[in-house]
Amino acid sequence: MTAFLLTLVGAALAVGLELLEAMAIVLAVAAERGRRDAMIGAAGAVGLLALAGFVIGPVVLARIPLEPLQVVVGVALLLFGLEWLRKGVLRLAGRRAPSSSLAEYLEERAALHALEPPPPDGPDWAARIVAGKGVLLEGLEVVLIVAALGAGAEGLAPALLGTAVAVIAVIAIGVVVHRPLARLPESHLKYAVGVVLSAFGVFFLAEGLGVEWPGGDAGLLYIGAALVAASQVEVLTLAREAPA
């Protein structure tokens, strides 16, 4: 049950935050260059992501035996998780700008505003490429994280359930965008995702290397607690060292 809930929460947070960033780019393209081309670019990227999800999940991961699979998934989750955690620590220590999808939206709009205006008739390829690339890059991380979390003992169900929760939440935010985006504590949420993904990474990697965790799935809780404790010490240390 612990692994199921943590997988669900981890997937929901990771997918939600990545989707928010993708949505910020698509909304900026729609506002500056037109809704139609933004949606075409985003739809093309979603098609490629569906293909990537099929190749990574049922084709590649499904054919690897359990122990090597746990090592592959553990390494992938550690790489993603520690990167999210590293950035989270730097943000909480004031050593990196806070994460903000609203700021990203405004920056993207300013960058698009500086481009040549779209052609009066015919497709706006600049808009399609910007929207498509944004969705593709953010979405690829979603596909990799969901596939890795879904390769655990609990199967794909909690990862997909978390993804569904995230999609609904992000669409709801998209409908009433601006103020809710500004209010989201994105830096703290990303730090939490870093802890959850890193905890799963350590857990799976050790199991793949023949280790049996004391307490079984409950190991995820004390691994997470150790990661929080160590990273909070880093936050305090870096904040104290920060230039005035």
Partner: protein, 61 residues
């Protein structure tokens, strides 16, 4: 695009992939050597490797 994909998979710093690789290699070596304690306590070695990797990546930016 390639640079962004590399950054997506490996992150902003080489310290993380290097640290994870060292942790993995140490784990594989210990698993193969099969000391008695590894089966029960090896997870804490992996956890230590992850924490050391995080600390190193925060020092080398």
């Amino acid at each position: 695009m390639i640079a962004q994909l590399r950054k997506l998979v490996l992150g902003d710093t080489w310290t993380l992939p290097l640290g994870v690789a060292v942790t993995l290699l140490a784990g594989l070596a210990l698993d193969a050597a099969g000391p008695g304690w590894w089966h029960r306590a090896g997870g804490f070695v992996v956890l230590g490797g992850a924490l050391a990797t995080l600390a190193a990546s925060l020092r080398r930016r």
